[in-house]
């Protein structure tokens, strides 16, 4: 959205390498990536896995020069890799800096069972988007017969437009680890994992040193704080697959296998990592749990709506003056969020990323809440210069690319959706094509194996509902179905015959002749 296309072309030209190719000397290759979680400081890139932010022409000149000199990354200027937090609005969670160990001390003092009760009374629900009640999940896991149990923190923040976990792990990691340790005490786990998305490689060393520090301070390891709890945390890096944010695919990936969602039941709380009871929660959930362990349930439950307690941390990006991190009590209207981040002339907002909901500018009185607009944190703003079909087109390609290929409706269906959207956007659609599109959306949604497929059609369905005319306007007024681009198909023949005169072109329809 920030001129990526022209920058990419410029980079390809400067480096003298085509997009998707390796340069002849084998020094450099260039390709596109999906969202890397830097939407507040884009356009962004990755070089040898490390994030490059705020790219512009002069930055690209510099990078190209460094690459051509074959300078090791360690010698590149640091400002190229600088990642800012961009916290613009703090609330309950971001305002409070829990002292290292405070949540654990409170939990041990209060008693482990009582702490679980506090988390229950707080009404905390999972922050990844689905909103399952955290205390119930932890309780289920603690009641399992198998005593070998695991805690997993899902930091595979892959939903396009989400970057709040990056900031939480950069500046609030101690609290996140503390929340995991409280969870371990409650469910009786000895081992925890932080599943960190590969694109956040720049955080890896920092997080490891925090873990080391916690070990030295008796907050991890054997007999934590003398309370008899043995627990440690390991960081595992993802490899860039969107699907690994799905908890059972994440567990597969942790086990060293390809990220493919499991059949359920059994659920991870009964059979998760290595078939053992496992709690998987979002980064923000553990952060909130640590806060609740310190401050008690009322601190959290007094804010928010009846069904959605507490606050939600949003990653705001797109067409606004101040993209970054904003924390709001549940129940806040979309309009007031837009006012805060300086968004004018808004066409609509994609709430919850591609798998969420697109709302139009007629719905800005709707509220942030599990019962209205649920979100894992992604909030992408589009102003009226944007074309909705371009966005839908982009998301359709994203899902076709990210489908893991396990089940038929998603593997084939997302590719078919991509083809059908391409056809309509490129102007080859005819009368029945929007109806066919909708039918296909329902198939993919109703029959897919996991959340990816079940939500892959959302960008199309939510925009079809709001802007049906936009889709219809792209259709040709013909009753037959042009299965392919007639003139485009002649291109090879024209090239071979070395001619390009009017007679070498054919119109798709009679009317185009006139």
């Amino acid at each position: 959205m920030l001129g990526k296309k022209s920058l990419l072309d410029y980079l390809a030209k400067t480096l003298d390498v085509a997009v998707g190719e390796v340069r002849e000397d084998g020094v450099v290759s260039l390709d596109n990536t999906s969202c890397t979680g830097m939407c507040d400081q884009g356009p962004a890139g990755l070089v040898n896995g490390l994030a490059l932010t705020r790219l512009d022409q002069s930055g690209i000149d510099k990078i190209a020069e460094l690459i051509n000199q074959q300078k090791p990354l360690g010698e590149w200027p640091e400002e190229l890799f600088q990642v800012d937090d961009n916290i613009y609005k703090s609330g309950l969670l971001l305002n409070q800096q829990v002292e290292q160990g405070a949540a654990l001390r409170s939990a041990f003092k209060r008693g482990i069972r009582e702490t679980l009760k506090e988390i229950d009374y707080s009404g905390l629900r999972g922050r990844g988007g689905a909103g399952f009640k955290t205390a119930i999940k932890w309780q289920f896991c603690s009641e399992e017969q198998q005593t070998e149990r695991y805690v997993v923190c899902n930091a595979d923040e892959g939903e396009p437009g989400t970057f709040k976990d990056r900031v939480l792990l950069s500046s609030y990691a101690d609290q996140v680890f503390e929340g995991m340790t409280v969870c371990a005490a409650i469910i009786g786990a000895k081992q925890g994992f932080l599943y960190l998305r590969g694109e956040y490689l720049h955080l890896y060393d920092k997080l490891r040193s925090i873990l080391d520090q916690r070990r030295q301070n008796s907050l991890l390891g054997i007999n934590i704080l003398g309370a008899g709890l043995d627990f440690d945390i390991e960081i595992c890096l993802g490899a860039g697959a969107y699907i690994c944010g799905e908890e059972s695919a994440l567990i597969e990936s942790l086990e060293g296998k390809a990220g493919i969602p499991r059949n359920r039941p059994p659920y991870p709380v009964t059979q998760g990592y290595l078939g053992k009871p496992t709690v998987v929660n979002n980064v923000e959930t553990f952060l909130a749990a640590a806060g609740i362990a310190v401050n008690g349930s009322d601190w959290f439950a007094s804010i928010g709506t009846e069904k959605s307690k507490g606050t939600k941390i949003l990653s705001i990006s797109g067409d606004c003056a101040r993209p970054g991190i904003y924390e709001y009590p549940f129940g806040t209207t979309i309009q007031s969020i837009l006012n805060d981040c300086g968004a004018d002339d808004v066409l609509g907002v994609q709430v919850g990323g591609p798998s969420g909901t697109f709302i139009s500018n007629q719905e800005f009185d709707r509220k942030l809440a599990f019962e209205d607009l649920a979100t894992g944190g992604s909030f992408i703003i589009f102003n009226s210069s944007r074309n909705i079909l371009d966005m839908v087109h982009n998301f359709a390609h994203f899902f076709a690319h990210e489908s893991c290929g396990f089940c038929t409706p998603c593997r084939v269906g997302t590719s078919l959706l991509q083809k059908q959207i391409d056809k309509i956007v490129e102007g080859h659609g005819s009368a029945g094509d929007v109806v066919a599109l909708e039918e296909l959306c329902q198939l993919v949604k109703n029959y897919s194996h996991c959340g990816l497929g079940q939500t892959a059609a959302n960008p199309i369905l939510t925009t079809l509902e709001r802007y049906p005319d936009l889709y219809q306007s792209r259709l040709k007024e013909i009753s037959f179905e042009p299965g392919f681009d007639l003139d485009g198909a002649l291109e090879t023949a024209r090239r071979m015959a070395n001619r390009n005169d009017a007679g070498a072109h054919l119109a798709q329809t009679e009317s185009e002749h006139e």
Binding site: P265, G275, T408, P409, R411, L416, L443, Y447
Partner: protein, 206 residues
């Protein structure tokens, strides 16, 4: 009194540990399926066996039967959608029944007939897939692959085991007969000792 579920109103007994598919098969009720094969751990990937369980779509081959479940199998909606899913499998690969030597003895084709599939409905992908005949005894025709075997099973209630690959390692002969997709075609050396890939030659081991 044993536990029961109903499928389209018909009462069907089951034992603990059985899936809806297990119970249906034991009772002689057909739920269309491709990736399910009783000898293998359930997979749940083709989604053809989707049934409505208490109003929710579930894969019959992986979903445990539970007392009192109301299962819908042969509703018009499910039949129509299963047909679409089968059509997806057809357009995704290169499945040209009239010219295929498996015609008449093919589960994919049989399911398509059962669901009254008369056309592809969706635009064909026409993927370029290679026939791998590099091995002296086994060849793989990827054109007919419908991706049921590619992934290892993950039902933790049974011992973790691969599907086709493990079966192959343990009982290569049985595997010959049981490769459900007929992707792996085995042939005997010609009488003159010649070696070559015979895509159509399955006589030697059927």
């Amino acid at each position: 009194m044993s536990k029961t579920i109903t499928i389209d109103g018909k009462v069907i007994p089951f034992e603990d540990g059985q899936t809806i598919m297990d119970a249906a098969m034991a009772a002689g009720v057909y739920i269309p399926h491709l990736c399910h094969q009783p000898e293998f751990t359930p997979h749940g990937s083709c989604k053809l066996c989707t049934v409505k369980v208490n109003g929710r779509n579930c894969s019959a081959c992986t979903y445990p039967a539970m007392d009192g479940q109301e299962v819908l199998n042969e509703t018009q909606e499910l039949i129509d959608d299963r047909k679409r899913i089968t059509q997806m499998l057809f357009v995704e690969g290169n499945h040209l029944c009239p010219g295929c030597e498996k015609t008449g003895n093919c589960q994919l084709q049989a399911v398509a007939y059962h669901l009254n599939m008369l056309d592809n409905h969706f635009p064909a992908f026409y993927p370029e897939r290679e026939v791998d005949a590099s091995h002296p005894e086994v060849m793989i025709d990827h054109n007919r692959c419908i991706f049921l075997h590619a992934v290892h099973s993950r039902q933790p209630r049974k011992r973790r085991q691969g599907r086709v690959c493990d079966q192959w390692a343990r009982h290569p002969q049985a595997f010959d007969r049981k490769c459900r997709k007929r992707l792996v075609e085995r042939y005997r050396h010609g009488s003159d000792g010649s070696r070559g890939a015979h895509l159509s030659d399955r006589r030697n081991f059927d």
